[in-house]
Symmetry: C2
Amino acid sequence: MIEEKGILFILSGPSGVGKGTVRKSLFEQSTDLRYSISMTTRGAREGETDGVDYFFKSRDEFERLIAEGKLLEHAEYVGNYYGTPREYVEETLENGKDVFLEIEVQGALQVKQNFPQGVFIFLIPPSLEELKDRIVSRGTETEEKVKNRLHTAREEIEMMDAYDYVVVNDEVDNAVKKVQSIVMSEHCKRERVAKQYKKALEAGQS
Amino acid sequence: MIEEKGILFILSGPSGVGKGTVRKSLFEQSTDLRYSISMTTRGAREGETDGVDYFFKSRDEFERLIAEGKLLEHAEYVGNYYGTPREYVEETLENGKDVFLEIEVQGALQVKQNFPQGVFIFLIPPSLEELKDRIVSRGTETEEKVKNRLHTAREEIEMMDAYDYVVVNDEVDNAVKKVQSIVMSEHCKRERVAKQYKKALEAGQS
């Protein structure tokens, strides 16, 4: 049997858009995705297990791993490092499981550089969708307000450019359904499927 | 309000794979897709309405439309022409509705030439999937049988190359779910979404 490799899905989007809520709801419904386990230098809290909640590392180890390119992304918050270890992701994918990573925009851009074969999903606020729909027929707001909203919108739209998909977070259930459909359809992509079949045929010939 | 254009989805695959069954089940569940109405030179049967069941045309008219490039594909069966009129498809897409076309492989390849922006889905038989899974551990069949199966498989896999997605028709419900997920995720593609937002912003600026 020729095993299919898993796919890395990255969910990101502007701060406050509701990434965490969508991820939580997705994991309440779906069991096939593996959530990416982060690495950190902060101490384990009571009840936290190494390799389950986080991979706990010393600052020296973490910095060595950064230097060796062993992290798909990392950042420092209030004196501690947090990051996504490449090894855990790659091993899980090799075992045929999809990995799901929910992360801030800056981290997602780092992942994109280090793992471009991932599938990048950008979550946008319904306000941007509404803005798009109403932009032509505006007139109820002050010029200054409209200008500010357009400025924010422009920034958010520019952020999309590194992503494969854009999902409007109008309702959590809708957004989750869209993410699920992206996961399912990515497994039907011809490049991916045909490659497996061609490999199988070659194996059958030898 | 900036209208989103519809998408043309083409379902095809080797003869006997069950395209019609998948299409039928899809339309029993989904209402957002419009089924592409074919054009034909055969006479209307009792109860058939022009523009609903088919667009009925004379042979002269049909040949003129072929010459003018007004058909996305066409073929002749037992003395009558059948084809897919470009105009109906394009108008429906302009109105923001997705169009769904279920068609033989030869017709799908014509559509691909005339409407490359369509989304092409290849339905494959579960026997090909099984063959892939068992190909390495084979040994229960005669060499001749295996050779024949490999030959057919190779032909089917080569047919995939023009398609965007490959769906295994192992169970109709699974195949339908996958097609639905492809429809949903295609609407989330960044190129498509970002373009609309950028248009809206430009409209807002003027």
